[in-house]
């Protein structure tokens, strides 16, 4: 394997989930 893909949050999936807006002003949903 010459390429190792690191696990990251799926941004397209987060688009479908909608933004909950509960994160601290600078996520809450993924921490639950």
């Amino acid at each position: 394997d010459r390429i190792v893909t690191v696990e990251t949050r799926d941004l397209e999936k987060s688009l479908a989930e909608g933004g909950c807006g509960e994160c601290q002003t600078s996520c809450e949903k993924t921490e639950e």
Partner: protein
């Protein structure tokens, strides 16, 4: 869009729109950079010419690697298409509900730092302390305008907020009472220069403050160059014992040592390590943003030095993490698996929309950095936001609002950057503060490298 870069022995490929991160070997690193505009046969020829003396590099193997790249593209993890441009506009239109206030409880300060963006706490105006009545109205205003938001943030800021300590305590008590009534969760935070940080303040903060920021620039001679009292005496010796005592009692609650570096200490890594070696483990060091004519202003000649400092910082953090004495650096904190959703990545901090600053007299501004600039006044806490045109202008700020950002690989990390920095650098909140962009991109490169290396260590 992808971004390929090297950090020591790491070859890293970032995919902008999927957020994917790939660690690759030198062969794949070269293949990926050729893939989009070079025929397959040509890629194989070039790779064999460069790496053919290595026993594990054969034409079959190179072709398999090209297949892997193709598969990653097909699965949307390389050269993923941009599907988010409309997100910014639609999401920011929703952001008329407020979820955070910066309460300027004191427009006065017991220090006289010459580089202070707030003109020694006065914000280019008169001195003043927020009354309890104004503070309570601000909390009522926040709750009444918070809509569906349950988590609300209130930051006590100045000037020096501890110069109005009794009001801070009373407002926390009022907030705690109101959050129960309205089913909200208020996170209080506070920034202090440490002069008045005593045991009573420490005990209260450890009970009530979600995060506390302690202003320290690093080494004594660096700190005391700018952070002086009204008589011109440095403050390092007065505040460091207070900070040490505070942090010793802080337990696992959040705090940050927050420094500013200038043209006079472009070797700011030494200041970060000075703080780490004193036992402070949550660290932040920010570039000064000031008039380019000021002697303390960073220059274009400083950039290569600053880049090197950020890289050395990353190496030092990796080394110390491995030795079990790690520390965190604000800009190198990335949560790859649970990080921000695309809405936050596109829309940014929410200044002027869901985040507002409140002056001691109850006036509203887009954020703390605009306070005192009358043309940015947005209303007040009794009548609400009356300058809706200004709110619309800030709602338009996003990772997509500046044509210059179109081809920037880092735009979904910076979310379009800081409106105040853009304004101060270009005169337009939708301008581009290119110097800040250069530093930001370097920090993200280093942050990802630190993350990957510490994951390897674990």
């Amino acid at each position: 869009m992808i971004h390929c870069y090297r950090f020591d022995d790491l070859n890293i490929v970032l995919d902008t729109y999927s957020g994917s991160i790939h660690m690759v070997d030198p062969v794949a690193f070269d293949i990926i950079q050729m893939y989009e505009d070079t025929p397959r046969d040509e890629i194989v020829t070039r790779i064999m010419a460069k790496f053919g003396d290595q026993p594990d590099v054969t034409p079959e193997d190179v072709n398999k690697c090209i297949d892997d790249v193709e598969a990653l593209k097909a699965s949307g993890k390389l050269w993923a298409p941009d599907k988010y441009e409309n997100v910014a506009l639609n999401f920011n239109k929703r952001r008329v509900q407020i979820k955070a206030l910066c309460l300027h409880v004191a427009h006065t300060c017991n220090l006289n730092c010459s580089y202070c963006f707030a003109s020694q706490g006065k914000y280019h105006g008169k001195r003043g302390l927020m009354s309890l009545e104004v503070g309570r109205q601000a909390i009522d205003f926040l709750i009444a305008n918070s809509g569906y938001h349950r988590n609300l943030d209130i930051d006590f800021f100045g000037g020096e907020p501890l110069m109005n300590w009794d009001v801070v305590k009373a407002l926390v008590a009022y907030g705690r009472e109101q959050e129960k009534i309205h089913n909200k969760n208020i996170r209080f935070t506070l920034t202090t220069n440490g002069v008045l940080l005593d045991d009573e303040v420490t005990e209260f903060c450890n009970r009530e403050m979600h995060n506390v920021v302690l202003s320290l620039d690093g080494r004594k001679e660096v700190h005391d160059r700018f952070r002086v009292d009204v008589k011109g005496n440095g403050s390092y010796d007065r505040i460091v014992p207070n900070f040490k005592s505070f942090v010793a009692k802080r337990g696992d609650k959040s705090y940050y040592m927050r420094g500013t570096y200038t043209h006079y200490n472009t070797d700011f890594l030494n200041d970060i390590l000075h703080m780490a070696d004193m036992g402070f483990t949550e660290l932040s060091m920010e570039p000064v943003v000031t008039d380019p004519a000021e002697p303390s202003a960073l220059t274009s000649d400083d950039l290569p030095v600053l880049f090197e400092q950020y890289e050395e910082l990353a190496r030092e953090m990796i080394r110390r993490h491995k030795e079990g004495r790690g520390f965190t650096f604000y800009h190198y904190m990335l949560d790859l698996t649970c990080g921000p959703c695309i809405y936050k990545r596109v829309a940014g901090c929410g200044s002027g929309t869901e985040y507002l600053a409140v002056t001691p007299w109850g006036d509203l501004y887009p954020c703390h950095q605009f306070v005192g600039d009358e043309k940015y006044k947005m209303g007040d806490i009794w009548t609400g936001v009356t300058n809706t045109a200004m709110r619309e202008k800030f709602a338009s700020c996003s990772a997509y609002s500046r044509p210059e950002c179109k081809d920037c690989w880092a735009k979904l990390y910076c979310s379009g950057g800081c409106a105040a920095n853009s304004y101060h650098a270009t005169g337009d909140i939708n301008g581009v503060y290119e110097y800040g962009c250069e530093l930001f991109r370097k920090r993200i490169e280093c942050a990802i490298a630190v993350k990957l290396k510490t994951m390897e260590n674990q």
